[in-house]
């Protein structure tokens, strides 16, 4: 019995030591890959900022297949990494199974809600940001036709599309919005060739501004838009620099802030649902030297006005995911 006790306490001590030594945060990138110039890259930027400011270090993994999701999560949790940050809606199901097994580990999930006492779910009001860039698209369009190209056809991307259409219609009720989704499998996040073809198809239907919410596929969209001399709108990270003067703006989703906050708070992180929107700076549109000539004062005033109105609740942008319908087409 005494032997058992000492063994157990020894084990507990080792566990504690291990926990203390290895309590570095971990970051799991979704299938899009760390440098997708978009969503995952924003997460990486946030983590890098945390490293620069604190001198800490973090563990990371880029997923290669669906099967690795649970494995990676459990590996990090077993390893004592805390908190574990993961990007992407696709972690939802896996995390709701894994989180209860590691009650002492804090998880931060970006883009999806998991109801567990040790999970912080960060969700973004993408519809608000899409609304803003939609207004700019309608303002910049000469033909009255604008396009939307989504990645994989999931409710989240429809949320982008719906917000965008609402923004376009708010400025120009007669505008036409052509909507396309790249595909229905995760390969749709990384198919720039298809992105190009969709852009060409939309251009031939009259679109002169296209908004790409499609991960790596968006690279093809922006490229073709620049080649064909129309404007494009980037997503998640600031993509204005990719084709200076050809990218109207980018819908910024401050995933970097979400990751930075999670890593800074460390194990004391607040759990529950945390919404980042226009009101608290979690969502914005990009304005820098690359797109300044495209955004005139009129347009900027319009969008900044809308930002203020969304923040104080005068404008409510419909969220597609709240009822899976969109009031406008």
């Amino acid at each position: 019995m005494t032997f058992m006790k000492s063994l157990l306490s020894a084990a507990a001590a080792t566990a504690l030591c291990a926990g203390a030594a290895l309590a570095e945060p971990a970051l799991i990138f979704d299938l899009g890959g760390k440098f997708d110039k978009s969503f995952n890259e924003a997460a990486f930027t946030g983590a890098e900022r945390w490293v620069e400011e604190t001198g800490g270090s973090f563990r990371e993994i880029e997923l290669k297949s669906e099967a690795q999701r649970e494995q990676a999560l459990r590996r990090f949790a077993e390893n004592g990494n805390n908190p574990i940050v993961m990007t992407g809606f696709a972690f939802g199901n896996v995390l709701s199974e894994v989180a209860p097994d590691y009650p002492d580990t804090k998880f931060t999930l970006i883009d999806m809600v998991v109801d567990a006492p040790n999970v912080r779910s960060v969700v973004f009001n993408e519809h608000e940001g899409s609304y803003l860039v939609g207004m700019m698209a309608a303002k910049a369009s000469k033909s009255g036709t604008v396009g939307f190209i989504g990645g994989m056809d999931i409710p989240l991307i429809r949320k982008f599309a719906c917000g965008y259409v609402q923004g376009v219609k708010a400025v120009n009720p007669d505008a036409t919005v052509i909507q396309n989704m790249t595909g229905t499998t995760p390969a749709a996040w990384n198919d720039p060739v298809k992105g190009s073809e969709l852009t060409k198809a939309q251009i031939s239907q009259g679109a002169d501004v296209v908004y790409a919410a499609a991960g790596g596929t968006g690279v093809g969209v922006l490229q073709t838009a620049a080649d064909e001399g129309i404007l494009s709108i980037g997503v998640d990270s600031n993509q204005n620099y990719m084709h200076p003067g050809k990218v109207l703006t980018s819908m910024l989703k401050r995933v970097d802030n979400a990751v930075y906050d999670a890593m800074t708070a460390g194990t004391d992180i607040e759990t529950g649902i945390y919404v980042m929107g226009v009101a608290n700076g979690g969502i914005d549109y990009a304005l820098d030297e690359f797109n300044a000539p495209l955004v005139d004062d009129d347009m900027a005033a319009l969008v900044d006005g809308a930002k203020a109105e969304i923040s104080n609740g005068t404008i409510t942008v419909h969220d597609y995911m709240s009822d899976n319908t969109c009031p406008v087409e």
Binding site: N180, P192, Q223
Partner: protein
């Protein structure tokens, strides 16, 4: 659907079918010589990366093309070594090549360019330009008229529309790919080499008896396969796109394999099959849902249709698809 929309869909079809066609012909050479090749996807991907990388570093798309072909041929040589010289399992070797290419391209791209498994965007001479054929409306005419090219074409007569929209304005690799079809047909059915190549895939022992090297012919077939896959990869990265993005081949190698079965391992049929698959993709991209006789057909169905058609063909509903008889089997000389 008006006439111009139809032409735009056909234009898109040609762009989408070209990589499929080149890869399909690549598979045709290899499989007709008795070497199954699952690794088409990997070779295309490797070629896409190396062509983009070389084109970026030298600023010349032609050097890029050569680098892409070289990379693809290196993987072909590996496949040949494993499956011809060492008589390994051809399917496993092909799958290994796919994994190798998928991982290696991202790894090298990250080491060279530090942009997370992609190459920087190609500009100017590092990309294949669209060729405007004589008498066709091109960017120059559009500039002179002060109108976008699409508007200018819309105003032209129907013949000029077909010529300018579909036939002209493609990159040189498209025309080359189309020329490859009669060339392949001639090589396979009209030359001594072609006869031997087909015989090696049907009955290698007979070829051996005639005093022709089975190994030599098979390696030659695999090398041609490498060249064609290299062209397909370079087309993706330097003509359709301006750079390499990881996994950018996005399963086109597998669709090409399906097209090969659909075409029953024949060159002209391969052209038909790849154009059909390209058309299905183009239609799916252009229209998010299509009404056929009042029934809405979802776009997912259009995406799946190439595979469904292949299964139908394999099941023997529309003629029987008989693969080369000695396909997949390493040749062992009798003692």
């Amino acid at each position: 659907m008006d006439f111009l929309t139809l032409l735009q869909v056909l234009d898109s079809t040609i762009r989408l079918a070209t990589p499929l066609l080149l890869t399909c012909l690549a598979g045709l050479f290899s499989e007709r010589a008795g070497i199954f090749d699952i690794g088409l996807e990997g070779k295309m991907l490797a070629a896409a990366f190396f062509s983009a990388a070389m084109a970026f570093m030298t600023g010349s798309v032609w050097l890029g093309l050569l680098a892409g072909i070289a990379a693809s041929m290196a993987l072909s040589a590996l496949h040949g070594l494993a499956s011809i010289t060492f008589r390994g399992n051809q399917l496993i070797s092909g799958v290994a090549i796919n994994f190798l290419a998928s991982g290696l391209t991202v790894l090298i791209a990250q080491a060279w360019f530090h942009q997370g498994g992609r190459t920087p965007s190609l500009i100017g001479g590092a990309r294949f330009e669209q060729i405007t054929l004589p008498f066709a409306l091109g960017p120059m005419d559009a500039e002179a008229a002060g109108l976008p090219l699409s508007k200018l074409i819309a105003q032209a007569g129907p013949l000029q529309q077909i010529y300018s929209e579909v036939i002209s304005g493609q990159t040189i690799l498209v025309y080359f790919a189309l020329l490859c079809v009669p060339a392949t047909s001639w090589l396979l059915y009209r030359t001594r080499f072609g006869l031997r190549l087909r015989a090696v895939g049907e009955n290698p022992a007979a070829v051996d008896t005639a005093g022709v090297s089975v190994v030599g012919i098979r390696f030659a077939a695999v090398a041609i396969c490498g060249v064609l896959c290299g062209l397909a990869g370079a087309y993706l990265a330097t003509a359709l796109q301006a750079g390499f993005v990881r996994e950018m081949s996005a399963g086109r190698g597998y669709i090409a394999l399906a097209a090969l079965i659909f075409a029953k391992w024949r060159p002209w049929y391969a052209l038909g099959a790849t154009l059909l698959f390209g058309l299905l993709q183009a239609v799916a991209l252009r229209f998010q849902s299509i009404d056929i006789a009042g029934i809405p057909v979802p776009v997912q169905f259009m995406d799946a249709l190439p595979y469904i058609l292949t299964v139908v063909i394999l099941a023997g509903f529309v003629g029987k698809a008989i693969p080369p008889r000695a396909g997949g089997e390493p040749y062992v000389k009798e003692r």
